[in-house]
Assembly symmetry: C2
Homo-oligomer: 221 residues x 2
């Protein structure tokens, strides 16, 4: 996939999170998000056994194929390969990107988290296909996230590098447009979708807002 | 490695366990066990981040090479590949063996846990290089282990299959000989070593006992 195609497919990234899903299971949540237009499902479940992750991943693999969405696995590169996901996402506490790339192979998508310019430069040098940049705003979904960094790192990186940027952390339909206009290819959400009363409607509203921002004249090309 | 060579190298398997190590770090515990003659170190840490596992695995990789011992990673096939371990061990809550094999490749060692004859038959069919059979006796090291099965499954499997068997669960220098004589290629221990006052002495006593049992006339060939 070339960068423009990947950037397009990264528009709206929904991370699963069993703790914030109000008792709804991961597959149910993902299906509702896909129905609302999520372009990426990222499987993330720090409580599950490997066996459970594989089972969830296999179910999400079928579902994402049916909706022509991407499946990315958080942290667990082995699970990504085992369920034939489109890629894996690693944070600074996960496997170093060069080792993850070795296991994923050259074709699968490798996303890397960056909360500072230094981390972003390292991830780009390590061959990340996209960067997960954040936390942009204060967030309740990832309690171990660093300090909020705002839109500044997005605009700095977008001006200097072609690597697609996915903004994460406290994003909503209200604040997503400024981040897209700062140069993000897409946004990633957890609670804004998985904790919503109506997951499909919440996803659709986010997607519509992002698409409108991408088409506004100030948008980064 | 052929089966006889592998069986020999599986003689004394020490699983790391941070919770039972009385404040001593994993590398310190492993070095002391290797000094006492452990032939396998199995990295197992359900609390560590992937990054920490990689760091521990890299340190254990150097150490096990220096002592000509095997390094096996529990559950995390990705970590096994990333640190160039000799293999991985998967339980019934971990990745299914055929998927693990796909990521490990044909050369690395794949160990699979079996607590029943059915699980053992499945693991052999899936191409396990060795079976971890247990829990043999009641154990405090793995609180999620199934009911104790005694030596019977070891002797049944040893009589029917050439796959090396590593007995696990409640094993000590006192009860290890009968399990070796029942046909186990080796034994695996957690607390008997990692919780010992003198890790090196405890390991050496186990090794000596196992080696004596292997040479006794009743031993499985
Ligand atoms: Ni020897």
């Amino acid at each position: 996939m070339n960068r423009a195609a990947l950037a397009h497919r990264l528009t709206l990234h929904v991370l699963t999170d069993r703790e914030w899903s109000r008792g709804r299971d991961t597959v149910t949540v993902a299906r509702a998000a896909l129905e609302g237009g999520a372009t990426v499902i990222q499987l993330r479940d720090k409580l599950a056994s490997t066996r459970e992750l594989i089972e969830q991943g296999q179910a999400l693999r079928e579902l994402t194929r049916a909706y022509n969405a991407l499946l990315i696995v958080n942290d667990r590169v082995d699970v990504a390969v085992a369920v034939d996901a489109d890629g894996a996402h690693v944070g600074q506490d996960d496997m170093p990107a060069p080792l993850a790339r070795q296991i994923l192979g050259p074709q699968r998508i490798l996303g890397v988290s960056a909360g500072t310019l230094d981390e972003a430069l390292g991830a780009i040098k390590d061959g990340a296909d996209y960067l997960g940049v954040g936390p942009i705003f204060a967030t309740r979904g990832k309690l171990d996230a660093g300090p909020a960094i705002g839109a500044k790192l997005i605009s700095t990186l977008a001006a200097r590098f072609p690597t697609p940027l996915v903004a994460i952390g406290g994003l909503t339909a209200t604040n997503a447009p400024e981040i897209i206009r700062a140069g993000a290819a897409g946004i990633a959400v957890i609670t804004a979708v998985v904790a919503a009363d109506d997951i499909t409607a919440a996803t659709r509203e986010l997607l519509t807002t992002i698409q409108a921002a991408k088409q506004s004249p100030q948008a980064h090309p």
